[in-house]
Symmetry: C2
Subunit: 300 residues, 2 copies
């Protein structure tokens, strides 16, 4: 699959996922319509829909063909969205713009943004529970539910957010272990959730699900380190000096701890391990291969 | 069952529920320990544990004897707790005390209180998903999940919160219909969730579950109207004039719309209908009868 083919196929898939998400959005009417408006504004923000895409492709990889994956695809994107809405709040990162659009609390007020985030998290589980009606007797649906909740909470994304916030006040006291904990939970956990739910719903074995968890971990960590590398090297290219935004903020990153060269090596190692694990499955999904490679090796 | 027997039995049940909740709390360790501390502080606030109690008793009423109800009992209490933590936030009601203790954001800061609420809501579904391991083949567990999420979200509690917040700025423009919507969702929805999940897990019929939904609606609405009545009449008794806190705040309540006498009649009507429905079941749970009666007819 060449780069043009990949992009065409990806754009087609994004459009399909957008349509699926649209079909699940609550109608803006009744006494709760303000918060529903805030929810829909937040969800329809032009995201890359990476998590639902990874879920669906992993589901296909392991032979899944049904519609039971769809409620979980939408649910995970809603969980991702709620986390952005709450992250942007004045008491958290206090961001006024995201992807060029005003953030939810700027448009709807802080109170409504808190409630919209709560509503999205809750609605995620409400949507996901539709999977029980699609395949009532399928025990894997219950397992998928456990993964969805587990990877989003204190032993997943929320845990990573908390550690990240506390790291902000620690300057260079942040350790590599702590940084890996943050990336593993704030970033990798929802990628793990996506791929593990896809594998679980398709009936993958325990070993395959464990391998998928490892692949997603490596992809998430490599993605984040690559982000840190690009923050420094792109500044170097453009400005001729090292003033990445992380460095300006005196933020400890993988690169400030390990240096650029070691960081690049580690990205390569994590990527190769992930690809090798993916290749070890007898089944193939060429698009998923290309998608994971694109994620890890991106240059901007 | 006389009043002393009822209170003794109730206190014993509260203690059992406390122990159950304690056994499910996350351990305060690791990089996420601050938010776990905030979660546990919020949950261990000395609440009446009314919702888990109603769930368990309704489960017993319909012949339930297993442990599958326990994760849902804890989950519902966590959903109730998260809603209080977020309600108390500066951007919402800005309350510094609840039940005589400092609120979560006062102790842990606003940022950690938002995350603790998010974590509690998420952890609720994580705990509830343990029910799939207890009874893997039981399709009612999936149905219970749908009820849990549905009654907590925009078509339940969150919807009621939003309408309540918007009503605050509307003064006497608030209609009876709007007020009933607020009570039905902000108050009654989680009582419905409790009783409907109990009935569902015990294998009650669709008709029985619908009747239970109606009973819980009546109890929730009657409870709330009784609250409004007590706000006015207790002020009358103590101060000799009508200065209930709702009236001082120019808040529209059921009583300001309908007057005290009509409100008392409506509480009676709602209660009688609820009791009649409960009596229509062939099964009996004397403690549940007493609990519902105590809720509706309380004098303070």
């Amino acid at each position: 699959m060449d780069s043009r083919e990949f992009k065409e196929e990806r754009d087609g898939k994004v459009a399909q996922i957008e349509a699926l998400i649209q079909s699940c959005l609550p109608e803006e009417k009744g006494y709760a319509k303000t918060v529903i408006g805030a929810m829909n504004y937040s969800v329809l923000s032009g995201g890359k829909r990476l998590r639902p895409m990874l879920m669906e492709e992993t589901y296909r990889l392991f032979g899944g063909t049904g519609k039971v994956v769809e409620p979980f695809m939408v649910a995970l994107e809603m969980i991702h969205t709620y986390s952005l809405v709450h992250d942007d709040l004045p008491a958290m990162d206090n961001d006024e713009y995201r992807r060029g659009r005003k953030t939810t609390h700027v448009v709807y007020g802080e109170c409504m943004a808190i409630l919209a985030g709560d509503a999205l998290l809750n609605y995620a589980f409400e949507i996901a529970s539709r999977a029980f009606q699609i395949e009532p007797g399928n025990e894997n649906v219950g397992k998928a539910f456990s993964i969805l909740a587990g990877k989003a909470g204190i032993y997943g994304m929320v845990g990573g957010q908390v550690a990240d916030i506390e790291a902000e006040d620690m300057g260079d006291q942040v350790t590599k272990e702590q940084l890996l904990y943050i990336h593993a939970n704030k970033t990798a956990a929802l990628i793990q959730s996506a791929m593990m739910i896809g594998a679980t719903l398709a009936g993958a074995t325990e070993q395959q699900i464990a391998d998928v968890e490892r692949i997603a971990y490596n992809v998430g960590i490599a993605f984040q380190i690559q982000d840190d590398i690009l923050d420094i090297t792109s500044s170097l290219e453009v400005l001729g000096k090292r003033v990445g935004s992380d460095e300006k903020n005196h933020k400890t990153t993988y690169v400030t701890i390990e240096g650029v060269e070691k960081s690049k090596q580690d990205v390569r190692k994590l990527s190769e391990e992930a690809i090798a694990l993916l290749d070890s499955f007898t089944a193939r999904n060429e698009f998923l291969d290309a998608l994971l490679r694109a994620l890890i090796t991106r240059e901007k």
